[in-house]
């Protein structure tokens, strides 16, 4: 969150995919699995690119300034462009096969550094354990690290890795499977997470897609750990989740407003966040298009919620859950302002075991699944007891 706040203060923007990013901010101490994913993002960034590490929230500002300086170092980027591995090398490294050469390298355009002052960089922030959370980091490789990965995320990969004859560029082709209508349709293996904007950090959802519908899903936590407790107390986390959901619903304006309110709520002092939040709630409530867009998505009954270990307020559809999030945030801010400092009541029970995740997204399309997941207002994920694979067929 501190990173997002600093990015906003500089007038930079957050990128939503590695292709658009100039700066990679890694927050906290990533474990080995996450570090690998971050490396994957790093490989996907086009350059000029800069990677900085912020171990605590208060460091972020200084690190971003370093990143800005680093971006202007043209000689360094020229070297970086020559030395970085090509996509094919990365794929070969992963798949152990020779691939055709595809460098993702166009010519760099070297402007004079002076000409780029005050440029608008986009930061991707890596994850953050222990300092703040809800970061935006933009990897969404639909790749399976077990087989190959590189510049291309979302490559079509099938089940069979043995038959490299059929694998253009070292990427196995998709295989057919029976679709809902009984006709055969290609099944794509796509991995969501562990680092993805507006996505619970560290969560990996391995999906089989037919078209854009998730027909099978398997959830796990990278490095086998859930998000740790962090410094964020009170309602800020809930507001951050609201911002994510609004962003996913394609309402950038309201999402930006929610992020601003979140930053206000994080600052000690007056209860300015309360009135702003009330205004946001009214605005969201007034939007009938949002209601129309989100209603009916993955309606959960009392039994469903209970069976999934979700709190009672997860009952209803995605729109109702969003309204519940707003109500809780308003109440949380009011409680904090009333001197109930450090109230964590709203965090209690907002956990979800990965066991139940796959059931929640089955049969939804990719985008809807993300909306539904964001609407659950998850504050903490627990690794499931068993790794479930779910499929309907």
């Amino acid at each position: 969150m501190a990173a997002e706040r600093n990015v906003a203060a500089r007038g930079w923007r957050l990128a939503i995919s590695p292709a658009d990013a100039d700066v990679l901010v890694v927050c906290g101490e990533p474990g080995p699995g996450l570090a690998e994913a971050i490396e994957g993002i790093w490989h996907q960034m086009p350059g000029p690119r800069v990677r900085v590490y912020a171990h605590a929230g208060d460091e972020v500002g200084a690190r971003l300034d370093e990143a800005h300086t680093g971006l202007l170092d043209t000689d360094h980027h020229r070297r970086d462009a020559q030395e970085r591995p090509t996509a094919s090398e990365l794929v070969a490294e992963q798949a152990g096969s020779r691939a055709e050469s595809h460098g993702g390298h166009g010519d760099t355009d070297h402007g004079s550094a002076g000409g780029h002052e005050g440029m608008d960089h986009e930061g991707h922030e890596g994850m953050d354990h222990g300092s703040h959370e809800g970061m935006d980091h933009g990897s969404h490789e639909g790749m399976d690290h077990g087989s190959h990965e590189g510049m291309d995320h979302g490559a079509h990969e099938g089940m069979d890795h043995g038959d490299m004859e059929m694998s253009p560029g070292g990427i196995p082709l998709a295989e057919g499977g029976e679709d809902r209508d009984g006709l055969e349709m290609d099944v794509l293996q796509v991995r969501l997470g562990p680092v993805l904007p507006h996505w619970p950090a560290g969560l990996v959802l391995r999906c089989s897609l037919q078209g854009d519908v998730i027909v099978e899903a398997k959830a796990e936590l990278v490095d086998g750990r859930a998000r740790q407790d962090d410094e964020v107390v009170g309602p800020a986390r809930g507001i951050d989740n609201i911002a994510s959901l609004l962003a996913l619903a394609g309402w950038d304006d309201a999402a930006a407003e929610a992020r601003r309110i979140r930053d206000t709520a994080l600052e000690p002092g007056d209860g300015a966040a309360g009135s702003e939040l009330e205004r946001l709630r009214r605005r969201v409530r007034r939007s009938w298009t949002l209601r129309w867009s989100l209603s009916g998505l993955r309606r959960l009954s009392d039994e469903d919620a209970h069976a999934r270990g979700l709190p009672a307020d997860a009952v209803g559809d995605t729109y109702e859950r969003l309204m519940g999030m707003l109500d809780r945030a308003v109440a949380g801010v009011a409680a904090t302002a009333a001197g109930d400092i450090g109230t964590r009541t709203n965090d209690a029970g907002r956990t979800l075991s990965t066991d139940h995740l796959a059931h929640l997204v089955m049969g939804l399309d990719l985008a809807t699944a993300r909306l539904v997941l964001a609407s659950l207002d998850i504050h903490e994920l627990l690794a499931g007891q068993a790794e479930h694979e779910v499929s309907h067929g």
């Binding site: 350059g47 608008d120 854009d212």
Partner: protein, 321 residues
């Protein structure tokens, strides 16, 4: 292109082909205006200072950034189709404005100018889809298909919305349609067609509520793998389409260059900018229309409404003649 055949009674003069450069310049200026306005609105929404590069100067900073950023490709990308898709939007927007009369001058005075515009906006289907397809990436492909899903919802209503002014003017020539609005703009007595047309413009520009094809929920959709200049051209194409759509609405619904005091060409520009501002602002107000939900609205609500509009217009046209 065959030689344009100006109609004998057309109020429009066809200018020398060289003037096409000027038309491109105007389109470019309009697109930059739209981008600046969007930046200003974004800065206002974000609250606080937008830093040095916030607000209306944002598009210039962004352009500088993207020009410096390297182009990248993905493994096994269908590079040719991918680049065609990304660059095509700008080309289509330029071809759209060739039939829009600026006051009394136009590049092509086609007898079927309305159809020409319609053909161009259908091209966008292919281009956005190719951008999604070419990158060989799952999210990108999903984004491309989402645009087609939207297309199924908006394209027919848009076509029938374009039919209404043509029926009333008894001509498919854009100049003649503009001239037929003596005293009363078509936007006034065909409000449904006008609104549906504006929705269509937002839709073929992948703009605002019609942006799920490049939405955050699919990690940037068709845009996800674009970097550097490719991304710049794609984004510029979107703004240019928005500008071209707004410009085409002027002769079709807003009486062309008609207006007091100012010369015709100035009125065309003023009306275009006003409409463009409305379209840009739309993005701030509305969340995305999810393609699966919008399909129903397009077929069950917009299409019948706009057909009814056409019927009313046709009856009035027959009665008047």
């Amino acid at each position: 292109m065959a030689d344009p055949m100006p109609m004998t009674d057309s109020p429009i003069t066809t200018v020398a082909p060289g003037w096409a450069i000027a038309a491109l310049g105007i389109l470019g200026a309009l697109a930059v205006t739209a981008a600046m306005l969007d930046g200003a609105l974004a800065a206002r929404a974000g609250g606080g200072p937008g830093g040095k590069m916030g607000g209306p100067v944002r598009p210039f900073g962004e352009a500088a950034r993207l020009m410096r950023q390297r182009r990248r490709t993905t493994v096994e990308a269908d590079r040719l189709l991918w680049r065609i898709g990304g660059a095509g939007l700008l080309v289509v927007a330029a071809l759209m404005v060739t039939v829009v009369p600026l006051g009394e001058w136009t590049i092509f005075d086609l007898d079927v100018g309305v159809m020409w515009f319609n053909a161009m906006d259908v091209m966008v289907w292919a281009l956005v889809w190719l951008t999604g397809w070419g990158a060989n990436s799952a999210h990108s492909l999903v984004g491309g298909y989402r645009f087609l899903a939207h297309g199924l919802g908006y394209e027919l209503p848009l076509m029938f919305a374009l039919v209404a002014p043509a029926i009333a003017a008894e001509s498919l020539n854009v100049g003649a349609v503009a001239a037929a609005q003596e005293g009363l703009w078509f936007a006034v007595w065909m409000p449904v067609a006008f609104l549906v047309y504006l929705l269509g413009v937002a839709a073929f520009s992948v703009w605002g509520p019609f942006a799920p094809a490049i939405g955050t929920d699919v990690s940037g959709g068709a845009r996800v793998e674009l970097s550097g200049v490719d991304r710049l051209v794609f984004e510029a194409g979107r703004y240019a389409l928005l500008a071209a759509g707004a410009a085409f609405a002027v002769p079709m619904f807003l009486g062309g260059g008609a207006g007091p005091l100012l010369p015709g060409w100035a009125w065309v520009l003023v009306k275009t900018v006003a409409l463009l501002a409305v379209l840009v602002w739309l993005r701030r107000r509305l969340p995305a229309f999810r393609p699966d939900k919008f399909m129903e609205v397009g077929w069950m609500l917009l299409l019948p409404a706009v057909l009814l509009q056409d019927l009313v217009v046709a009856v009035i046209a027959v009665w008047r003649s």
